[in-house]
Symmetry: C2
Subunit: 303 residues, 2 copies
DNA sequence: AAACATTCATACCTTTACTGGATTGTTAAG
DNA sequence: CTTAACAATCCAGTAAAGGTATGAATGTTT
């Protein structure tokens, strides 16, 4: 196979149609240039130039080679630049894993922020529950995770990204609370949910929320009367909207609640305040070599 | 800039993810392969593989390089093949110059013949008068000429391609000939055209025909009463159709004559037969380096 | 736990290939 | 016939590539 310097030499000669001039352009002397062309011709098995001592002209084969040689050289230069850009983090791709809820709050914020500061970097989005994100971070199939503070696997590090809290979601104007009804938005002690039909996070896909709700109920001395399981916040809210019961959702989920649902802060007394923390973390593999990821992490740290 | 062997080495390692196996595939030993990759990384200024003594994996930069490297190598192989094909005459382009009349007779014949036997070769068609074709053949802007036997320029050789003769074209059922009228297709002595309005080839663009017609008239002792000049056969036939006069056209032009025109062979007695020869020649530059042209010439010689 | 196997990196040597300078050969112009 | 121009050839000197032997790191097996 021919070599890239041979193609460069060929293009120079084809453009100058003069070995001496082409040699100057290539910062070399004429004899080795002649030899390079001869080598190229030998490798291709054909004359590329018709040349006498007075003039040089392209043959049909040479005319065929010229545009292709230019194209190959251009592609090499472009490839060189692309690889450098990716290695500097200027371009590249970041695979972001995120939970369903983060997809509605932290993810858009982060993407808006990142897309502005890192044009050229594309994001691959994968909605995954926290444990699957953790697996992905270990395997390298996920670069950045937006997940709940679950047990980290070795090599994966994280930092808090958003602090959130659970709020109570009730059917609007419901009589479930009886005479304990509170005006929209007023704090509600968890005790008032005692034995009410509770729409619960599934044990498996949303264990973090499941456990947290149970802890909160226990701490308030209330009985959790679970009547329905679901793993996604929108599903739970739809049940609430239908009047099937009450549930607890992250405050950030209020923004996309359907009509017919009212929210109340949880009364923070008796130590509930400390328990009622829904954290979202940003996690990544400590040993990630993806420069775009490193840049993104810097970006999130600094401002 | 990186080199093609380096790209080949990179692709092999990226596909095998194992230096030893990649080295086998490249028919070399492992240490120089490692060095080639190191060189490539140095030239690109970045790591392409994350490697320990136990495993090899692509970095983001490496993943970016892989498809581009494959593309460059593929293009090199394809270019090599294309150049060889052109140099063997298997593919390529032939610029054919042809006169207006040849464009209606010899050219389609030749193209049909050639297109069958030389798939992959494309033809660039240029309608040119014979002298311009001759210039083009010298300059190299025309590969093959279909032209009248005019004086050849140095380096241009030719061979007869088609023998033709002139025939008389008359307005159908015309009274121009008076009582000398002949049945359709019957030979007509040129003397019967004496002093009739003659539609003539222009001196400049169709000198060959112009001179030939004059010679024929002179030889028959007839007077050429020129009433109109035109350079293209169809234009002359249109005049004949309109009843403006008579003219002489190549027999091959009868095929595309308009209705309302009748043709007669020229009576060949008194030496007219020898004069009435309209030859079409195939001409090319003796030193043409275009392999497709050489193949075409062979093709025309042999069958 | 220690010996072993695997695998990539390094050191050193040999061969190959490329470069630059001087020279030659050929062709067109004065 | 001489000269100028230009590509090809010859001849070292040097840079690059490949091979063998060896080392270092990390799992794996006994």
């Amino acid at each position: 196979m021919f070599s890239l310097p041979q193609l460069e030499a060929f293009v120079a000669v084809a453009e100058e149609l003069h070995f001496g001039a082409a040699a100057v352009r290539l910062n070399m002397t004429q004899p080795p240039l002649s030899r390079q062309i001869q080598m190229l011709e030998k490798k291709l098995g054909t004359q590329l130039f018709g040349r006498t001592s007075r003039k040089v002209e392209l043959t049909a084969a040479g005319a065929t080679l010229l545009p292709r040689a230019r194209q190959i050289l251009d592609m090499c230069i472009k490839t060189d630049l692309d690889v450098r850009r990716v290695s500097s983090g200027e371009a590249g791709a970041i695979t972001v894993g995120y939970t369903a809820i983060a997809g509605q709050s932290a993810l858009p914020l982060m993407l808006r922020h990142a897309a502005e500061s890192m044009p050229g970097v594309s994001f691959v989005l994968r909605e995954l529950v926290s444990t699957d994100q953790m697996d992905g971070l270990v395997k390298g199939s996920v670069d950045i995770g937006l997940l709940r503070p679950i047990v980290a696997r070795p090599g994966v590090v994280s930092r808090p990204l958003m602090k959130d809290r659970l709020v109570v979601a009730l059917p609007e104007g419901s009589s479930l609370l009886g005479n304990m009804a509170a005006p929209q938005g007023a704090p509600l002690p968890l005790g008032s949910l005692d034995r009410l039909p509770l729409l619960m996070y599934s044990t498996k896909e949303a264990r973090y929320f499941h456990d947290l709700v149970l802890r909160l109920f226990a701490s308030a001395g209330a009985h959790a009367n679970i009547t329905q399981y679901a793993s996604q916040v929108p599903a739970l809210l739809a049940f609430v909207q239908a009047g099937l019961g009450v549930t607890l959702v992250p405050a950030s989920a209020m923004a996309f609640a359907p009509a017919g649902v009212e929210f109340h802060e949880i009364d923070g007394r008796h130590g509930i305040q400390e328990l009622n923390r829904v954290d979202l973390e940003l996690a990544w593999n400590e040993e990630t070599a993806n420069p775009a990821v490193l840049r993104l992490l810097d970006l999130i740290e600094s401002p």
